[in-house]
Symmetry: C2
Subunit: 107 residues, 2 copies
């Protein structure tokens, strides 16, 4: 069996739009339009990201009339976020409770 490419999995969490999607879905399932409105992004962009995330099983889709309702894979995603939060606020000495410093490039 081959080594899976974890970096690809993690890439799902490393983009602002996708993070907004995740955080929005953390409160419950949403349609694409609802998502689009909540995060203030373009519908087609949201769809593109959802496709990627669905492919990696981070979100799940259900048809409902003409809508598609997306929901989080909570088993994976919520603990993931919790760990990130713990690190950023607890372990990252540079962040010190306000991780904008981690948002800046470093080079």
């Amino acid at each position: 069996m081959n080594e899976p490419s974890y970096e690809q999995f993690f890439a799902n969490f490393s983009n602002y739009t996708r993070m907004k999607i995740i955080i929005a879905l953390a409160d419950g399932p949403l349609s694409v339009n609802e998502l689009t409105e909540q995060i203030g992004d373009e519908q087609s962009n949201v769809s593109h990201h959802l496709k990627q995330m669905a492919h990696c099983s981070l979100v799940d889709v259900k048809r409902e009339g003409k809508k598609r309702i997306y929901s989080l894979n909570e088993k994976t995603v919520k603990p993931m976020l919790a760990m990130a939060q713990e690190h950023v606020f607890g372990s990252c000495t540079n962040c010190a409770g306000d991780c904008r410093s981690c948002a800046e490039g470093v080079r």
Copy 2:
């Protein structure tokens, strides 16, 4: 207090070279040269990545003569990897135990 930018934190895990660094360091601390040899990458590239990772407190550095010994922040990184593994092998229906499919672009 501001929302930290989790996506930046996760970006540390979303690159192949950085993943190789992490996996190499999982077995114990290494100098830059040792890392460079183990993962077959260029010294300056490894250094660049280490800088980023150190900034986000994912690795720690100690001087030792002219060498610098890097070690993992195990508290954060190892559970993170474990969760990724669990997802990829356990929850990701597309991956089915061999996640090269997640490595391919999806569009």
